[in-house]
Symmetry: C2
Subunit: 279 residues, 2 copies
């Protein structure tokens, strides 16, 4: 693991790191914020999965999470959204919603993506081990947040590993990729056209198939340009209701899909996480 | 004035605007954040001048000012750092510290810069009029902050118009451009080699020549890579002491020159401003 940059901020250390990933076979970059802490302490870890076109940098620069992480004693980890580099295949037409910057947090089974687009393994297995080995992290206290495509990742990962992630929340998530254009394109491209294989990567399908978490928190901008076609929070509202999952869905009047929205409610989401990460 | 973008954030509206400037003869872009406020209210205005290489965008995306501005009821205005566009001359070698992105908040008298590099007039006359005419601003309650080159701008403008700017502060400012490489290059390039003309654009010289403000606040990272060669806060510490100006100089251990530093102490600086902007 190589240190790309280190900046003191808000009473902690914001780092960016790079490493050769065995999951993706590429060099991967991620950011980690560690609040100042007593020597020997182990802090809970909040994972943040980013949306389409983003790298670790967008959330690291714009999301205003550091003050709350220092107050609450939380490590904050932000991975990239896809493998990158020479030889990594992209969307055949270079579209923003598939390929580079659009890994959708799955392990691709379709060629030419199967060898490198392994973001599920990267985010749920390889990177947690790296974080546990190199930072003052408590692997017994982890939680997960995501935005948009990353909200999809946070929900599907959180629903799959409810014992590991003590809190699961999202900003403007894609809740039912099987039912919306972004998701159908991505799941078909990475997993093939047999939709049965998509259910493990669709939060609404996972809930329908029996996955459970005690609670979910979603903040959604009411003026989000992607609300009605791509995000459709009413689908997870219905699924959570039917399954008896305690979903808090905050529709935020006037807010859009941007980090101007995320930064506004980041502190609230982190406080919700911290309450569930208490020892 | 044309609206480039509008995003709701933190209980206010973050806008970016563009207009044909008569001061620079170019199209200029700036950002304004306006907290929600009662109809008809007029809010105090905090000006923020950015540093080398920056546009309005760096501070707007990274400086974490919006939550504090909403709490305190402050409008926050961020201009660009130079004229831009076809025909605007740049540093002859394209250096980052002169020309585009490096206007140093002076009205250039040297060719080929004299026609367009008029950032003093732009920031102190044209843009305040535009803000007063188009936003719920109280022109009787203004204050000014800047970073690095923009700290130089904030200090020189604040010292020149002490009645207009009720509070003057800076992050990592260039306090004595006449005495450091960045400043000597810029002042010679824009104002010519007669150093007498530089004194009106050097905070330490202005204080030596009798300019006064009741108080100054400076936050400076102790690990700032530019500290000893370009910034030299001890020079304004001495000048303020000799002049009886109440300077608070906070040396911040471990912090550097970046927005990771600025965002950490922005709330504190804005509270200091708000106390001085109270009706």
């Amino acid at each position: 693991m190589e240190q790309v940059s280190i900046n003191r901020s808000h009473g902690g250390v914001q780092g960016v790191y790079s490493h050769a990933s065995f999951a993706t076979g590429t060099q991967m970059t991620f950011s980690v914020f560690v609040p100042d802490h007593p020597e020997g302490a182990r802090l809970p870890v909040v994972w943040y999965l980013s949306g389409l076109t983003c790298t670790h940098a967008n959330v690291t620069e714009k999301a205003e999470f550091r003050a709350a992480c220092v107050d609450l004693g939380l490590i904050f980890v932000a991975p990239d959204t896809s493998p990158r580099g020479t030889g990594v295949p992209d969307d055949s037409e270079g579209a923003y919603d598939f390929g580079l910057g659009a890994g959708f947090y799955v392990d691709a089974t379709e060629e030419p993506f199967a060898g490198t687009y392994r973001m599920w393994s990267y985010v749920t297995r390889e990177l947690p081990d790296l974080i546990a080995a190199n930072f003052p992290a408590d692997p017994g206290r982890q939680s997960i947040i995501g935005h948009s495509m990353g909200g999809h990742g946070a929900l599907t990962i959180g629903l799959t590993y409810p014992d590991r992630y003590k809190a699961v929340s999202a900003f403007s998530p894609i809740v039912a990729p099987s039912q919306v254009p972004w998701g159908r394109k991505a799941l078909a491209g990475y997993l093939g056209t047999d939709e049965a294989a998509w259910r493990a990567h669709d939060a609404v399908s996972l809930i329908e198939d029996g996955a459970r978490v005690p609670a979910l928190l979603i903040d959604q901008g009411a003026s989000d340009q992607f609300l009605t076609e791509q995000l459709r929070p009413e689908l997870i509202e219905q699924a959570a209701h039917d399954a008896g999952i305690d979903l808090t869905l905050n529709m935020r009047e006037g807010y859009d899909h941007s980090y101007f929205f995320i930064s506004t409610f980041m502190g609230e989401q982190l406080r919700w996480h911290a309450a569930r990460l208490a020892p």
